[in-house]
Every structure is written in structure tokens, then in C-alpha cells.
Symmetry: C2
Subunit: 154 residues, 2 copies
DNA sequence: ATTAAATAGCTAGACTATCTAATTACTAGA
DNA sequence: TCTAGTAATTAGATAGTCTAGCTATTTAAT
């Protein structure tokens, strides 16, 4: 896009918000692209991402992270299991529960696809000085807070 | 991921990337929430967003922004038109084309829902000094570039 | 102990949104 | 004018989600 930040003039707040909006838009695009490369739907890919990132999750718990009902989560885990990306294991203490575990092969495949992106983003962060990183991190945290405050409510 | 051991007190690059990841995750959530409040699907809401933001768009052009085929875009515009959120108008010069225009009522409704969020994000930007805003903006632009470089390709 | 309520996951059937392929109408270049 | 290309649509198929209801298990209250 052609909107360049003006040198000399002060940068208006809404221009910064616009840059943020561009990031979220680019993120939506890349999410579709990564899913396509993995041969998964967007939600299925995002679910794998959550499984790699976070601790052990049950099907419904996983679905909640994606804003879906437990029935849909069952179907989601079915699909992931069918392609060998996850396995259902019994929960160690609660016999009602399951834990959904990514398979070794799936971990490698997913990481292989997202690694270049992660590396690219880390490289951008490396370009900043430690002080600058602190400024940006604080901004990003505040943005997360504000977004979170509009979470599923009334 | 557990707490990273920091060298000195400097903020590591991947911690910053993690903060970015939190933002994109929060954005995915709030996108669902905003769509829910408007009684629209996520793509339909995002389409409205694009129509408010950008210049005049045809159905397929709009669909491309969302990564969908022209047939799906036709259906999308059908849905938006059915609830009175957009109108199909003839393109001024090319009689094959249409322009999809949001209705006055829809503009108000959508803006009413997203305005608080936009205001909240602008307020976060206001908390920063002009210099800090420049630093953050540059980071966000670089992030958009990196994400864009993984765009739909091979 | 027994019973009642809540929780986790699953099944069934319907609905929504997307896709591919083919169709119509129009534009533009040789 | 003929031909190739483009914009939008239609038709049919498929995938993913939803609601509603089910079983099994756990937790809490008699």
C-alpha cells in the first residue's frame, strides 16, 4: 500500500491503528495460505496451531478456542485424526475426558510450514533495539487487552 | 511456551513475536464477536468492512479480498443484499460489471458496532509519544510485508 | 448407598457457505 | 467481423457447523 509514514510530521494515532489493521488483514490472508499448504481447513489448521502451542486440550476445550460447539469439535478432531495429525488419548484421571495429542509427524509438518513465517517475524523484531522492542511489546499487549475487552459477552 | 530466560533484562525478539501472535489471536476472536453482533457470518462481516473501507468493488473483486471464487462472491452479495446491507449498481462504463454499494443504514449499523473498538485502539495509540508511534508503525509495516511475502503462491 | 445434577464426548439430521463447471452477456484485439 | 478474454451468474456437489438429544462418568446432596 502506498500509505507511507510521513517523516517530520507527527504520526497520528489513527494512522497507527490503520497499520495495525493492515497487519490483521495480512494475517487473515496468511492463515488461509498456511492452511492451504497443509491441506487443511482454516479452523483445522488453527486447531493444530493451538495444540502445538498450548498444553493438553480436550476436544470441546479445543473447539472453544475456535468459538465452536462441542459437536463441531468432535467432527474437527475426527478429521484431524483421519489424516493422522492427532490421536485421542484417555485423560489420566478423569475417565470422561480425552486429551487430543498431535502426532510426531504432524508436529514436524506443521512446524515446517510455519517456521519460515515465524523466523521472518522474529527477524523483524531483531531489527529493533531492546528499547524499541519494549515499546512495541507494550503497545501489542495493550491492543490485546482492548480487543479482549470486546470478547464474547452480552 | 514457558518463561524465557532473558539475557540481561533485554526483551528477546521472539517474545515480541509472541505478543504479536496474541494480537492476531485476539483479533480472530473479536472478528467472530463483531460478526455475531451484526448477525452476519465472519466473511460477510469482513466484506462489509472492506466495502466501508475501500473504494467501489465488484462482487468478484470483493470475493478475491476474502480468498473466494466469483461464484461464492455472488452468493455473498446475494446474502448481503437480502438483508438490505448492500445494493448492486451498474458499473458506470463497463456494462458487464457491477459495483456493490453498502446502504446508508448498513453503514451506520456496522460503524456503530466497530466504532468502540476503533476508538479503543486509537486510544492505545494515543498513549504513545510521536516517536514511539513511529517505531511501532515501522514494526507493523515490516510485519505486514513479511506476512505478505508468504502470500498465495506456489 | 442412592439419587440428582453437571460435565465430556458423541451421533443424527438439517442448514450454510464454499467449491467446480458450465452459461450468459459484454469488451477488446486481430 | 471473428475470436479470445472477462464479469457475473447458475447448478450441483461437498465440507463444516449448528441444534437437539444420547451415553457414560463425575460430583454433590441427601
Amino acid at each position: 500500500m502506498e500509505e507511507e509514514i510521513q517523516e517530520g510530521n507527527s504520526l497520528q494515532a489513527h494512522e497507527l491503528s490503520w497499520a495495525l489493521r493492515e497487519v490483521t488483514r495480512a494475517n487473515a490472508e496468511i492463515t488461509r495460505e498456511l492452511a492451504r499448504r497443509l491441506g487443511l481447513g482454516v479452523n483445522d489448521m488453527t486447531a493444530m496451531d493451538h495444540l502445538l502451542q498450548g498444553g493438553p486440550l480436550g476436544p470441546a476445550e479445543l473447539g472453544n478456542l475456535l468459538g465452536m460447539r462441542s459437536a463441531s469439535a468432535t467432527a474437527l478432531v475426527d478429521r484431524l485424526e483421519a489424516v493422522g495429525h492427532v490421536e485421542r488419548r484417555p485423560h489420566p484421571t478423569d475417565r470422561r475426558r480425552l486429551v487430543v495429542e498431535p502426532t510426531r509427524h504432524a508436529v514436524e509438518e506443521v512446524l515446517g510450514v510455519i517456521r519460515p513465517l515465524v523466523a521472518g517475524l522474529d527477524a523483524v523484531a531483531e531489527e529493533l533495539s531492546p528499547d524499541e522492542r519494549r515499546v512495541v511489546a507494550r503497545y501489542l499487549e495493550r491492543v490485546s487487552e482492548v480487543m479482549g475487552s470486546y470478547g464474547p459477552g452480552d
